[in-house]
């Protein structure tokens, strides 16, 4: 204890929910002026740790010490009074109230919040707007500004950058550094290794609810952090990291598995055309709100398009309902897992739901057939089935695997993956991309949108870039490095310049 006294110390914190142990023995030490990274695979217990520290629910055992004194917070409001404030993974703003009412509810000064929003680059927010009507990135910044307004000595940011566009993430990094400059501490949680190594002074790594290591310098310790998270020895990890995908040539004379011609919908989708061949992974890159959500929804049959046509294996489709798309072999893996899964039902039921068509036997579900199919899908994806009675007990990564497993069990031709790795840890991410490659090798076609641009080169054969609801660039994966994708995604593609 030769250094500055600890601002926050966590000793042997444990928490279980029913039969699921979320946290076994978490330890954490944060000094003033420290940006402390907190990392772990999905299900490692990070979010639980954050919620225990900020009093969302009580710990079963263990201690939380603030400036050396043991404290128990019964609510986030109590933690806030002690100078500990968290920005949680999902916005903590009440949707039906105005921004001003939300601030009043939390006892935050509107002037201070306005000032911090200004510092974050949002000057023209009308505080009488209803939260429900504001775009998601704005809500994240309001959340952060509200947290800053109470001048917390200890700020916890739980995956705040997970679905923010790059320019907004930059503003958040700058603010984190400023907060450290004031002598305060920040706990920064992210699945993006680059962020952690660029931003954090130290990092604590959790695995299976236990603190497995602390690195004194986050920068340059990336390999060690990954190894700690995965629990494997460094050599295997290095091998896994470098096993990038070798793209293969796709025969262009083949009939496309999916063809989209001149698709338009509302103001956001203006004339999108592309072809996707069997055995190919086609990446879609775009900044926030460039029509990618509308495109995927139209192809998956959950929204109707105004103009254009969609063909599957040469046949034009009339998509009135997701069931039509599924019947045509087009299946969607959405970013929001809650939209795809029945949270209160078992893994088995979730996987076999879309497959009932093929499992029926005179109207009844063939139990044995169902079990066999589900078991093979679960095994193939290495889904952790310890908590199989209710899906909501699974971690985000495992839930995402269930979404893919259900389509494996029911069969498909074209997989539409919309940001399938959002908020998912590195290990599971790699499994998901390996699976995507494997499916393509077996002859399926995959359309893949991802908000993390480096992943395009990693998982795809070819990439298209959307801007303003149009395809502005197309390139083979070999050329789709982050810089070219970013240029195109900002509308700076040479094709566009030539056209105008």
């Amino acid at each position: 204890m030769s250094e500055a006294p600890l601002l926050l110390e966590v000793r042997d914190l444990a928490k279980r929910f029913g039969s699921v142990v979320a946290l076994k023995a978490a330890a954490l030490q944060v000094r003033p002026g420290d940006v402390h990274g907190l990392m772990g695979a999905n299900g490692a217990g990070i979010s639980t740790l954050v919620k225990l520290i900020t009093g969302v629910f009580p710990a079963d055992s263990g201690q939380i010490l603030v400036k050396g004194a043991a404290r128990t917070f019964r609510s986030p409001a109590e933690a806030r009074q002690a100078g500990i404030v968290s920005v949680y993974q999902d916005p903590a703003l009440v949707p039906d109230l105005t921004v001003a009412q939300n601030m009043r509810l939390a006892g935050a000064s509107i002037e201070a919040v306005r000032k911090w929003l200004g510092e974050l680059g949002v000057d023209n927010l009308d505080f009488s707007d209803i939260v429900r009507e504001l775009p998601y990135p704005t809500l994240r910044l309001i959340d952060l500004a509200r947290a800053l307004a109470s001048e917390p000595a200890m700020l916890l940011l739980d995956e705040i950058t997970a679905s923010l566009p790059a320019d907004l993430s930059e503003r958040i990094y700058a603010m984190v550094k400023r907060w450290r400059g004031r002598g305060h501490a920040v706990i920064f949680i992210s699945h993006r290794m680059a962020e952690i190594s660029a931003l954090c002074d130290r990092a604590t790594v959790l695995r299976d609810g236990v603190t497995v290591g602390v690195t004194e310098r986050a920068h340059g310790s990336e390999d060690r952090i990954v190894a700690l998270m995965l629990g494997a020895d460094p050599a295997t990890v290095a091998a896994a990291v470098s096993s990038t995908v070798t793209s293969h040539r796709v025969p262009r004379d083949a009939e496309p598995a999916l063809e989209v011609r001149g698709l338009r919908r509302g103001p956001l989708l203006n004339d999108v055309s592309f072809k996707l061949y069997p055995g190919e992974v086609l990446g879609v890159a775009a900044l926030e709100g460039q029509g990618q959500e509308e495109l995927f929804d139209c192809i998956a049959g959950s929204r109707r398009y105004d103009e254009g046509a969609i063909f599957a294996r040469g046949r034009e489709l009339k998509l009135r309902h997701p069931a039509d798309a599924i019947r045509a072999g087009l299946v969607l893996v959405p970013a929001n897992r809650l939209l795809a899964l029945l949270q209160q039902r078992s893994i088995r039921e979730n996987i076999s739901l879309p497959a009932f068509g093929g499992l029926r036997d005179w109207g009844l579900i063939g139990v044995r057939k169902e079990r066999a199919r589900v078991a093979s899908a679960v095994a193939r994806l290495q889904i952790d089935t310890r908590a199989s009675s209710e899906l909501r007990q699974l971690s985000g990564g495992n839930q995402q695997k269930v979404v893919i497993a259900r389509w494996l069990a029911s069969g498909f031709n074209t997989l539409l993956c919309f940001d399938p790795t959002r908020g998912i840890d590195i290990g599971t991410k790699r499994q998901i991309y390996a699976l995507v490659r494997e499916l393509a090798a077996a002859g399926s076609a995959v359309l893949l949108f991802t908000s993390e641009l480096p992943e395009i080169a990693l998982a795809c054969d070819r990439a298209i870039v959307l801007f303003g609801g149009r395809v502005v660039a197309e390139m083979p994966a070999a050329d789709a490095d982050e810089a070219s994708l970013l240029r195109a995604a900002h509308g700076l593609a040479p094709q566009l310049l030539a056209a105008s």
């Binding site: 609510s75 949707p95 109230l97 680059g121 949002v122 023209n124 775009p135 907004l168 900044l287 926030e288």
Partner: protein, 343 residues
């Protein structure tokens, strides 16, 4: 008003609209956010016009009976509104009204006006206590609110029968006149004044208070409200207390307009009060709606059977028509909201 992000950078889509708004734009926004505040008066005026059309000799007496008929229902709707906005439901409102009704009628019979007013305060206190019991039961036992209040509804209904087995009792005429008389002119029933005064005395300050904000917050998103520092359990109990208070006023209103206590009269008001809440544009999912809509809806729902009687329609068939009309009104409201959301 949400600037669509069809072009430009992410920064452009950060704010919904420029901060300075014209009066017209603010008016349009208010209409969009509180459709029932504008739709319900229109619906009420339309149904009044229809009534006058069917029954051209519409007189001050008809207005008085409308006001008296709608008074208990309006309070039942107000009681339900507070709980529904907070994301709950109270199926014991009618029975709580019955308790207040028979308590007042049995205690006030033969008393003076002053004594009756004091007893009315006592009844209101008991009503709030009934609400507190409902709320504590829902919060502490973790029994879902539908089941918990259905059960307590049966209990309060039994209590009402224990207090007064058969319709009877009474109250001094001055007291009855608070809800069954007229003021200055025969075209101004005291029922309307009682309703306007008591609802604005309770709801307007509440709406502007932190507690009122918390009602909307826990109804809209309980987790976000908790994380914002709201004590969710305490706020839920408070909502049921206000529900009990409004129910007790409704029970007193029932005493005033009928002149007696009837242990079974209140039961009808649970479901029709809920219908008024829904017709009045309060979301059953919680967090959205106001007090004006449900109270005006109570008048519309009172007018429907009256009109059907004027039209000489078999009352049993009238009940069918009433149900169809309620569904139709709610559906139209839903379509309007949907059409706005898609714009």
């Amino acid at each position: 008003m949400n600037a669509p992000a069809e072009s430009g950078s992410a920064a452009m889509s950060l704010a919904a609209a420029p901060s300075s708004k014209s009066w017209g734009a603010q008016f349009r926004r208010a209409m969009r956010r509180h459709p029932s505040l504008f739709g319900m008066p229109a619906l009420l005026i339309a149904s009044l016009a229809l009534t006058v059309l069917i029954h051209p000799q519409f007189s001050d007496f008809d207005l008085q009976s409308l006001a008296m008929g709608a008074l208990p229902l309006a309070f039942a709707a107000a009681a339900q509104t507070v709980v529904v906005i907070s994301g709950g439901i109270d199926l014991s409102i009618g029975s709580a009204m019955a308790v207040a009704n028979v308590l007042a009628a049995s205690m006030m019979e033969g008393r003076g006006f002053g004594e009756s007013l004091a007893l009315a305060v006592l009844v209101l206190t008991i009503g709030a206590a009934i609400g507190a019991v409902n709320g504590l039961l829902v919060v502490l036992s973790r029994v879902p609110d539908v089941i918990a209040t259905l059960t307590t509804g049966s209990i309060w209904g039994g209590v009402a029968l224990l207090i007064l087995e058969k319709p009877g009792g009474g109250a001094p005429q001055e007291f009855l006149n608070l809800g069954a008389g007229t003021l200055f002119t025969t075209w101004l029933p005291t029922a309307l004044i009682l309703l306007a005064v008591s609802v604005s005395a309770i709801w307007l300050p509440l709406r502007r208070s932190k507690l009122g904000l918390q009602f909307y917050a826990i109804g809209s998103d309980r987790i976000a409200a908790f994380r914002s520092g709201v004590n969710v359990e305490r706020t839920r109990v408070a909502a049921y207390i206000f529900s009990g208070l409004f129910s007790a006023i409704g029970g007193l209103g029932l005493t005033m307009t009928t002149g007696i206590g009837a242990p079974l009269a209140g039961v009808y008001y649970t479901l029709s009060g809920l219908a008024a809440v829904v017709v009045g544009g309060v979301s059953l999912a919680g967090g959205r709606g106001g007090m004006v809509g449900p109270i005006l809806a109570a008048f519309v729902l009172t007018l429907i059977p009256t009109d059907l009687i004027f039209l000489n329609i078999d009352p049993n068939f009238g009940q069918v028509i009433q149900g169809v009309l309620i569904v139709a009104i709610v559906m139209i409201g839903g379509f309007v909201t949907l059409a706005r959301a898609q714009k």
